[in-house]
Symmetry: C2
Subunit: 256 residues, 2 copies
């Protein structure tokens, strides 16, 4: 069955989307069957693959509102072996519409049931919050990957995120595991960044990925060309880091 | 009466908190009576002023749930003339608790009524979403200031934000005006950043502040010292930009 990995951190701008887009691309490049689910109403992952949001027949909104099947909601990307469930702004309505609904926390999990045998890996990009959309993603997932900017404010939200993950694991999804914390936008010339790396590794030890994603302008340029960094500039330091991350991910998932 | 300014952008990590903390400090330094309301459950503005969230008797949560008065919810900061309504994680509960409540969109506006004569400026730091907390802040405000990172993804969300502001103005708060878009984390050596500045100024003209906030590590170091950038290092390029921004803000507000 598929490994379903949520990219989650309620702190904004820490690299959730950039990681979803580039890690999924790197995994597909290794020959795995990969699905990306854009579960953020901003739809940055959808744009990151150059998909035009106007004129989409279905999206993660219609999927989670049971208005379309997974098969109908999936569209191909320019990356061989990588498909996406795109997102539109309508998804922001789901957060309120699902509040009174039955089994509101398990809608996405049910909707992704068919993905189990069709894909090896599913990545779910979450919005910067711990609301119902993120809860749905965590309930649907086997693992959660936490991107963390090398900044002071980003560390502050970590303990709250871990508390929420505990609650989800205890009450809604006992299989949920923390795959690891990924340090992003690392600039080795910056004292604060080095301090954050040191502190986070000291506190969390092996839960922190060995791979550090460097601050690399090619990663932030890629979306304006409608392509993942790995396609826009595979030789860049950013893309190379995501390729190493894919290898470390596979190694972590194969450990007991 | 007070000018109430919401710092809002649903895109995460664009500089809402850093602008709230440093612009409010610069305005207080000019002798104005200033209140900052931390309306983000992450509580980064509260931490940005070095306030310990444990042991707070009241917060923006108790204020908006009508459990405490404004006077009881305000605490001083280390900046003369600057007070804060701090935030704790309990505020994340308000987003769900307020959904069925009466007049759920005007709770913060009612709560801030007493601020009208006690302060000259009120700054409200919003979370990275367009949910009920941000709607409450927009309804309570006379103006909205939109921080915008010089990045491609940040521009993508702008049209959605403007649509939401139109809806709020039409249906909930006819006095709401867009004070301006503030370009943040600008690095003049970065082509993408220069492209974004050019595109945004071309599209929005005078709605964009003349002042550009540069990417400046002293601004991101300051919160780890529990102080605004203007106190941590007033001579830094970041602090100086926020001082110039305060001057431009006053000039913009005095125009008919
Ligand atoms: N390693 C990197 N180097 C340089 N820029 C980066 C890097 N990773 C991400 N960025 C840029 O930083 C910004 C924030 O990243 P991104 O949008 O991926 O974060 P996010 O956590 O998904 O944000 P949100 O909370 O809004 O969903 C984007 O403009 C992105 O292009
Ligand atoms: N001009 C700047 N130069 C360098 N770093 C900055 C600047 N402005 C903000 N930062 C840093 O960038 C990160 C994001 O900024 P900030 O937290 O203020 O954004 P935000 O919009 O409030 O984020 P969120 O969406 O999570 O509320 C923080 O770690 C902050 O310290
Ligand atoms: Mg994102
Ligand atoms: Mg903030």
């Amino acid at each position: 069955p598929a490994r379903i990995i949520a990219l989650s951190n309620q702190k904004g701008g820490v690299g959730k989307t950039t990681t979803a887009v580039n890690l999924a691309t790197a995994m597909a490049a290794c020959g795995h069957r990969v699905l990306v689910v854009d579960f953020d109403p901003q739809g940055n992952t959808t744009t990151g693959f150059g998909i035009d949001k106007r004129g989409l027949a279905h999206s993660s909104y219609s999927l989670v509102m049971n208005e379309s099947s997974l098969e109908d909601s999936i569209v191909p990307t320019q990356v061989p072996g990588l498909s996406i469930v795109p997102s539109t702004i309508h998804l922001s309505g789901a957060e309120v519409e699902l509040v009174p609904a039955m089994a509101r926390e398990t809608r996405l999990k049910e909707a992704l049931a068919e993905a189990q045998n069709a894909f090896d890996y599913v990545f779910i990009d979450c919005p910067p919050s711990l609301g119902l959309l993120t809860i749905n993603a965590l309930v649907a997932s086997t693992d959660v990957l936490i991107p963390l900017q090398c900044e002071f404010f980003a560390m502050e939200g970590l303990s709250q995120l871990f508390k929420t993950l505990e609650l989800v694991k205890k009450n809604l999804n006992p299989r949920l595991e923390i795959l690891g914390v990924l340090l992003t936008m690392y600039d080795k010339r910056n004292n604060l960044a080095n301090q954050v790396v040191h502190d986070v590794r000291q506190h969390l030890g092996h839960q922190v990925f060995d791979v550090l994603i460097p601050r690399n302008v090619r990663l932030s340029e890629a979306p304006s060309h409608g392509a993942p960094g790995l396609i826009y500039d595979v030789k860049s330091a950013g893309s190379q880091a995501y390729i190493r991350l894919a290898a470390e991910l596979i190694q972590r998932l194969s450990q007991p």
